[in-house]
């Protein structure tokens, strides 16, 4: 589904990703863990195609297509979804209107029929239940005055509505209390499917108690320094990033 080869990315002239390689197959859930400033959000933005993230070397293939040749909305229509670490408010635009505009724009780009208002309402009610999204949040302006937890829930609601092929969830757990975390995680789990892959970015292990990953990668200083199964996350929790960072620095110096 997703193949990232030797990716080098600069932001404002500063190298952030320094040779990142990652393979993700349909049906898999991979976690990316790493300390603050490691480049996790940078990876998510490069995948989504944000301006200012300059790919200096490497390639990304998504569902057989050259992802880097596509623009932001084309990537979205092709099935790439980014759950933002910091979702943005759009005052005056109702949440429901927004998700309808998004869904219909994607469907149109794929040559599918647009959804009527009635079909959309039905779908929204169904998907809203998944993340226990209060009815009034659908009518309120997108993320405007939402609490941290409401914003994250809303991201998962949008994901459920858009049914992407690949979901990149950037620190969906940050700012959530334990109840909200459980709700968000069960929403994500409900969307796991053999046709869908997920890349779950997190700083903490606790999210992975709820969303159990197939693989865990540790990102330090722009490189994946270790990969393993879910036990790697537990080990990281015990040992902290310091030890891995030290090993990475040594191997980095040696290479």
């Amino acid at each position: 589904m997703l193949s990232i080869q030797n990716l080098h990315v600069e932001v404002g002239g500063k190298p952030i990703l320094k040779g990142l390689t990652l393979e993700l197959k349909a049906g898999e859930v991979h976690a990316i863990m790493g300390p603050n400033g490691a480049g996790k959000s940078t990876l998510s933005y490069v995948l989504a195609g944000r301006d200012g993230y300059e790919v200096k070397a490497g390639s990304i293939t998504f569902l057989g297509q050259d992802l880097l040749a596509m623009d932001v909305s084309e990537r979205a229509a092709a099935g790439l979804f980014l759950g933002f670490q910091y979702p943005v408010a759009i005052p005056g635009v109702s949440n429901l209107h927004f998700v309808r505009a998004a869904l219909n724009a994607q469907r149109k780009a794929r040559g599918e029929a647009e959804l009527s208002a009635a079909e959309l309402m039905k779908l929204a009610r169904e998907k809203g239940k998944l993340v226990e999204l209060p009815a009034d949040l659908m009518k309120r302006a997108v993320n405007d005055g939402f609490s941290g937890g409401e914003k994250k829930r809303n991201e998962i609601f949008q994901m459920a509505m858009l049914e992407p092929k690949l979901a990149v969830l950037d620190e969906t757990d940050s700012g959530l209390d334990i109840d909200a975390l459980r709700v968000v995680a069960s929403g994500v789990n409900a969307l796991r499917s053999p046709e869908r892959a997920m890349l779950v970015i997190t700083h903490y292990q606790r999210l992975l108690d709820h969303i159990v990953p197939d693989r865990v990668h540790v990102l330090v200083d722009g490189r994946i320094v270790e990969s393993g199964d879910k036990s790697l996350a537990l080990r990281l929790e015990d040992e902290g990033y310091e030890k891995i960072r030290a090993t990475a620095a040594v191997s980095g110096a040696a290479s």
Partner: protein, 490 residues
């Protein structure tokens, strides 16, 4: 997306920019007493009307063009204009069948329904809702009104809706009583010029206690080149009546600037309510500021006891806009409202706002102004709130929000407040924000195109005003905001 890329996408498309190829009759260029007499004669006006025009003209000769607004444009040569242009239609057409097909085609292209069975283009009448309000239209083409629909049905309710020229003949007592009663003949340079040479416009009278059975609307079209457009609208809502009125305007795309100086007077008698909405889409000029309409407009209403006047405007067109729809809250407990969205893109300039003059006790006014600037567009909100001595318990709430797209445009706020009554309460809120790269990226990541993303954000920003428009026109206005911003983002 960078700012310069954002600006690149805003290459404005102006859909109403076509010219109707129709034989027209002009007054000779220039302005003189003879031209004023010529116009009056063309309309076979009674002597009192000509006298009033001449009074305006003679006063105008002693006036200076105002230059206090924050707009700049080259000097206008008032002798290099035609003050009258009309399609050659012979005697006034009695039914639509007699109207020149080229004119009908023009309105059809613009989506303006002249046939009574039609409604505005692009608006679907929802199924099972046959009672959706219909719209009666007065279509003004250059200097003359070409057709007014639904006249008979309105007549049965006692509502008068006709061209200004017709009203001068048919209802002279009303015109003589109210013409110049809100905007006096000596008010300002452009209004006085209008008083001398105004060509046509609409007249509305709603009798006591009548709720007008449908929306009324006038659609102004400038077609002729090198011609000023000077229309005049007068609406009188008698005691306890209600009317919702909308004006729309477009003009062809031409390289030279064209002058438009209109006057609107509203009279809301005790307990009456007038809702006046404008969707102004005059040709704005091209990306480099060539051509476009100079829009110098005087709009004012007077409210008697318990009366209410609500101005809603969506201003997307014109090269230069100079416009301050105002309310004189003369009667106790009267209400004035002003809801405005103004958009300036490329080289457009707008100096617009309102004036709320509180004279009566417990008078209330609300001002909501939303300015959107893109490209090199410059915009000034100029608003005045005056509370006279004796306006006990008067209240005003003003909210002024500016949205900037890119970093070459500007937004300015100039509030004037004058309070002579200690019990008055005034509130003022102002914000300035910029469409952020982060907002656009968020929308695009969800699948929206750049243009749709900008349209969505702008419409969200303007929502509070758009929701004041009659539903049919809100749809139109939303589309217009999107189209006018094409090329603002890349």
């Amino acid at each position: 997306m960078t700012t310069s890329e954002i600006e690149d996408v805003l290459a404005k498309r102006y859909e109403a920019g076509f010219v109707t190829d129709i034989e027209q009759e002009y007054a000779p260029k220039g302005l003189s007493e003879d031209i004023v007499r010529f116009i009056s004669e063309k309309k076979s006006e009674p002597a009192w009307m000509l006298e009033w025009r001449l009074k305006n003209y003679r006063h105008w000769l002693r006036m200076k063009e105002p230059r206090w607004a924050a707009v700049s444009y080259p000097a206008i040569d008032y002798q290099d204009l035609h003050y009258w242009a009309a399609p050659k239609i012979g005697s006034a057409p009695k039914s639509l069948d007699e109207v020149d097909p080229k004119l009908l085609e023009t309105y059809e292209k613009l989506g303006i329904p002249l046939h009574e069975r039609e409604i505005l283009a692009g608006v679907q009448r929802p199924e099972g809702d046959p009672d959706r309000p219909r719209v009666a239209v007065d279509a003004v083409f250059d200097s003359v009104s070409v057709h007014t629909s639904f006249k008979e049905e309105l007549g049965r309710a006692g509502v008068i809706f006709c061209s200004f020229s017709e009203a001068v003949h048919e209802h002279p007592e009303l015109i003589q009583k109210y013409l110049g009663s809100v905007v006096p003949f000596s008010d300002n340079f452009f209004a006085t010029l209008n008083g001398a040479v105004f060509s046509d416009g609409s007249f509305v009278y709603i009798p006591k206690g009548v709720r007008c059975p449908m929306e009324l609307s006038t659609y102004f079209r400038i077609n002729a080149a090198k011609t000023g457009q000077f229309e005049r609208t007068l609406i009188v809502a008698d005691e306890g009546s209600y009317v919702s009125y909308l004006e729309g305007c477009t003009a062809p795309q031409r390289d030279e600037n064209q002058l438009h100086a209109a006057v609107v007077e509203l009279v809301a008698l005790p307990g009456a309510e007038i809702k006046y909405s404008t969707v102004q889409n005059w040709y704005p000029g091209d990306e480099d500021g060539r051509g476009g309409i100079y829009n110098f407009v005087t709009k004012r209403g007077v409210c008697k006891e318990r009366a209410k006047i609500s101005w809603t405007q969506v201003e997307t067109g014109s090269a230069v806009t100079w416009k301050y729809p105002s309310c004189i809250l003369e009667g106790d407990d009267s209400i004035g409202e002003f809801y405005s969205v103004a958009l300036t893109n490329h080289a457009q300039q707008a100096d617009t706002g309102t004036k709320m003059i509180h004279l009566g006790k417990r008078t209330r006014s609300t001002i909501v102004s939303k300015g959107i600037s893109a490209g090199r567009g410059q915009q000034t909100y100029r608003g005045g709130v005056k509370i006279a001595k004796g306006a006990v318990g008067a209240r005003n709430h003003t909210q002024c929000d500016s949205l900037l797209i890119g970093n070459r445009c500007g937004a300015h706020t100039v509030p004037y407040v004058e309070v002579h009554e200690p019990s008055a309460q005034l509130e003022h809120e102002a914000t300035t924000s910029r469409i952020g790269e982060d907002q656009l990226f968020y929308c695009r990541q969800r699948g929206l195109s750049e243009e749709d993303a900008v349209g969505l954000i702008v419409n969200g920003f303007a929502k509070q005003v758009l929701q004041e428009l009659p539903m049919e026109f809100a749809v139109e206005a939303q589309k217009l905001l999107g189209v006018s911003l094409e090329g603002a983002v890349g």
